[in-house]
Structures are given as C-alpha cells and as structure tokens.
Symmetry: C2
Subunit: 338 residues, 2 copies
C-alpha cells in the first residue's frame, strides 16, 4: 500500500510500504476513508521527538473494515468504523475503570495517513456506525478518533461542570475541541486564548464566549479581570509546553484542576504553586474509547460539529504539503483522503 | 511572654519575646493550653528553609480566648478554641469554595509553641467547644489545628471513597492521620508504608489493614502484589520529598489521584508518567477550617482519637528537647504544655 512516512525532521513522504496484516486473532485491518494530521505529529516533524527513519506516521483515521482476525466477533468486512488512536481491550481493570489509555493490551494506530491501518483489539477499540455515513459527516467522525475525544478528556479532567468559567489554552484543533467540550458540558463562560482570527472564529462557533489574545502575564491579567480576581474554575491545557503549563497554573483558581492533554515537552510543573494554591493537575493521554459512544451520538444527532477544525483537505499523496501547512500555521488541521 | 524561638538550624530556645497584641479589630489573642511540634517545623530546624533568626516558631495550638478585637462577634474571653494553623475569613470566594488555605485574608499562627498566640480573622478561623473540654480530649483537639486536618485533606484530595485500596506514604503524624482519614472515609484496604514498629502500631490502631515496610522499587513491588498489578486506587503523599513523590506516582493506578500534603522540597513531578498513566495530583496546604466542624464532631463523639500520634509530652520550656526527639525520630510528635 501507499502510506505517509517520516524519514527525518521535515522529511515526509508518501510511498509504498508493506501492507499491514492480521498479526493477532484480535486484529482488524481497516481501509482508510479519511485520515488526518495531528498537532502531536509536528513534534517529530520539528525534530522534538526521536524518529525511526522511514516509519509510517499518522494515528487518526476512520474507514471500512477490510479483514478481521479469527477472534473478532463484533465487526465484519464492510463495517464503517471510527478507529481510536489508542487501541484497548475494553475489558481489563483499567478499561473498566474508564482509563482505556492505560489498557493492559494497549496498541496504537500506526498508518492512519496511509491506505490501510491495522487495529489491535478490534472488538474493544472500534465503534461502528449503522451503514455508511453521509460524506458530510466524515470530518466530524474523523475527529472522534483523537482530537475531539482529547479535547473532551481535557474538559472532563479539568472537572468542567455546568456554570462557571473555563479557560482553554491552545488554539490548535485540540484546544478548539476543548472549547466545544466545555460548552457542551455546560460551562457558562468559555474563554479561548487565541491570537489567530480564523481560530477565534471557530472557537466562537464552538461556544467560546470570550477570546483572550494576550499571552503570558498579560493573558493572566486579562483572565484575572474576567474572573474578578478569583481565577478560572477550570483550565484546559492543550499545548504541552512549559509556558502554556505555567499560564494554566497562573490563571486557575485555588482548588481547581488543570486538565492537560498536550503531550508534555520540557514541562517543569510548578509544584510549590500547586501546593500553595491547591491547584491540581489531571488528564493525560485520552482513552478515546471511553468517550466514543457518547461523542458519536452527539455527532450523529447534530449537536456537535467538530469537523469544523479541518480547514484544509488534501489527497493523501500530498501529505507532505499538509505537514508544511500545519507547521507554518497556514492550516489548523489537515484532512487527508486516499 | 515566653515562647519557642529558632535562631539557626538546630538552635531552638524558649525565651522572653514581646506579647502578641490585637493589631486588627478582627484579631483575637489565645492563651495556649497545648501546642505541638509539626514535621514541617523540622525543615528549618534541619536547615532546609530560611530562618529569620530569633523568630517564634510553632503553628499548632488550642487554647482559651484571652482578648478579642472590636470586630470579633462570635468569640469572647474564656472560650476554648481550636486554632487552625492557617487563618481565614471564611467568607471570601476561595473560602466559600472550600479552599480556606487560599483565603484572601490568609494568616498564620506564629507562636503556637508559646504562652500566647495571635489569631487573625478570629470569627472566620476559630471553632470553639461547649465549655472547657476534658483534659483527656486535649491531644485529639490539638491535632485538629493542623495534623489531623492535613491528613484528612490528603485523603479528600486523593479522592478516597468507600471500597478500594488506599496507600499512605509517610509514617509521620500526618501520614498516620492520613491512615485514620482513609479508614474513616471508607477505604476497604488501607496500606501504611512504614518501617518503624511504634508507628506501625498506631497505623493499625487508626485502621491500617496492611503494613509495607519496603521502600522505593521494593515497596512498589509489594503494592503491585497487594493490588494484583493494578495499583492503588488512591495514594496519600505525606512526606514532601522527591523520593516519596516518585513512589506515589509509581504505585498509583492509572486514572487515580495522588493527594499531596507534604510541603514539597526538591520535588520534580514526573509529568511524563502522569500523562501516560493519567495519574493526577491534588492537594496542598490544608484549609483546616473547612474540615474543622466535622472533625470536631468526630473527636467529641469518640469516633476518632487522633491524639494517639503524641508519644511524648514535654513542658514548653523543654521545646528544644522536643525538636531533638522528633529530629532523631525518637518521638513521632511532641505535645508541649505551657
């Protein structure tokens, strides 16, 4: 098959690689209908992560089951499925506790930007739709494989409840989905920290009531003003840098929780401040499967439309251009079609 | 008056200092009936914190109101009161949210190991008993000024719920009170990590079902064994060192929360592990006043007896010996009588 591969920082190719095959009886092979590029794919692209040269890249996709292993009971070829980026058996102690990201049989999508992708623990991981969904729904369904579920995880981890003020740090696709999640979970005021007009527009469409364009100390001062000096009732940290984490803890009200989903890079948590102000931290890698049935229902019923985060669609063969567009912030999130 | 002072690491004195006086109309002066030495007093004693030479030390006490400022309405001379180590107005946004440790009018007890102590925000901070309590209750009431409330805060922050396994790291008085709190809050299994037989005995009396004497990797292996590889449902970090924090995150099950109350010293939080395993951190300085009415009721009804943590009682004039005894771990916690 052909798939997107990474060879070095900045070196993305779309080329022939071996077809993924059923390796375990619990596996399934999915023919990708749509994949996309994640903000976290930019870490290796920018040289911040180690690269296994020539390996496939891409962990978000939806598609149609091509083949299933002998132990797969709930899916058959032809089913349209959402593929969580992290695969889980959905039966181990961690899955049962709602922490599918720590499944004892954890696996990951490895060629979501390719023509086919292998899913381990298919029965535990996948969720299917009734028949082939309308093409207009594909972008939103695709977000459920990671970005929307991750934004939702940030909001749940931060303890967003009806009423109150939620601040979302990060105006990438995850942050925007965090805005949508906070609004859906009933936050009265949802503040998106964003300097980019197109992203601000999506944030507003997703339910942001306020936009704060300032960063660092100035951003903190604006949040203090908006919250009458009390601080935010919940903060979603959707970036993963030390600066964004520091901002999160600076604006979170005492007793609140920072929900974090940005893969931490160079983060040193301000433990003294956390102690003195009683501000907690929760979150981490999103166990997508936990939220999938609920989010699917919300998409199918039209109550959320997270597919709006895609502002560029390219043929998969042009995935390198997709990376460039996201790296240069010309695109928020890029959808790739085989 | 005479009070305990610190002049340098290891240099504790009991000497004449100026009497505390009403400085604000919301102040009260309490004649100390009993004070005690906190594990956190050992930080400056051991040279780990800066010292203002000659300053009074000690933030835990109970006593009788000697004098009140003109704005104090709920207390009068003669009332027996528990003095939270951190004072609060109990009316600001943070107090109303249950985070009294972040009160806008935060104050601290400064001469709890002396004959008198000033309490700021007396109406918000203090809780009184009906009449003078029986002498046998004084030790338990004294623990409510900090140590028992702090152990309780650890358990609440860690999300201890009925059922499940709680592990308590630290067998100082706070950790022992954490054991008591976890048992009171219904943990089915309470594991005290302790190598010291007298502390193990108190832990068992407080409700520990298991004792783990091993530390570090070996301690982690024991907890893994006890929890069938899943990890602890909640972990109370009651020390504040990097080692104890690392242990806490090593044994906490994915999706759980480490409740921390040990003042962090040299702690570098394992943010990558927190992310990968979805283990959160919550807690910090305990807003004692939040828990005080409930804990007082539990002491008066005889359902808890946290005064057991005191295994040495000395005249206040011998406070220096009290510090030595705690520093050398000859005593768990020292009660001082004027």
């Amino acid at each position: 098959m052909r798939a997107t591969t990474i060879h070095a920082p900045g070196d993305i190719r779309f080329e022939e690689v071996p077809d993924p095959v059923i390796e375990e009886p619990t596996d399934a092979i999915v023919k990708v209908v749509a994949g996309c590029i994640c903000g976290s794919d930019l870490w290796p692209y920018r040289g911040a992560n180690d690269i296994d040269a020539g390996s496939t890249i891409g962990h978000e996709c939806v598609g149609v089951i091509e083949e299933v292993g002998s132990a797969v009971k709930d899916f058959k070829p032809g089913d349209f499925v959402i593929v969580p980026f992290c695969h889980c058996d959905n039966t181990c102690a961690h899955c049962v506790a709602g922490v599918q990201a720590a499944c004892e049989n954890l696996g990951f999508t490895a060629s979501g930007q390719g023509e086919y992708s292998r899913v381990t623990q298919a029965d535990g991981s996948l969720v299917k739709t009734d028949g082939m969904p309308d093409a207009s729904l594909i972008p939103s369904l695709l977000t459920l494989s990671d970005v929307m579920a991750t934004g939702w995880h940030a909001a749940v981890s931060a303890g967003v409840k009806p009423g109150g003020t939620t601040v979302v740090i990060g105006d990438g696709a995850v942050g925007l989905c965090g805005v949508l999640a906070a609004a859906q979970l009933g936050a009265e005021r949802v503040v998106a920290m964003s300097r980019h007009e197109p992203r601000q527009a999506i944030a507003r469409a997703f339910g942001a009531t306020d936009i704060v364009a300032e960063r660092g100390d100035e951003g903190g001062a604006r949040i203090a003003e908006l919250t009458k000096g009390v601080g935010a009732d919940s903060v979603l940290e959707c970036v993963g840098t030390d600066e964004s984490m520091k901002t999160a803890f600076a604006i979170a009200r005492p007793g609140s929780t920072v929900g974090f989903v940005g893969v931490p890079h160079g983060v040193e948590l301000p433990v003294r401040r956390m102690f003195q102000k009683n501000v907690g931290l929760a979150g981490g890698m999103a166990g997508v499967r936990r939220y999938l049935p609920d989010l699917l229902e919300r998409v199918l019923s039209g109550s959320i439309d997270p597919g709006k985060v895609f502002d560029l669609t390219l043929p998969m063969a042009q995935s390198a251009e997709g990376y460039r567009a996201m790296d240069e912030r010309r695109a928020i999130k890029v959808l790739l079609q085989p």
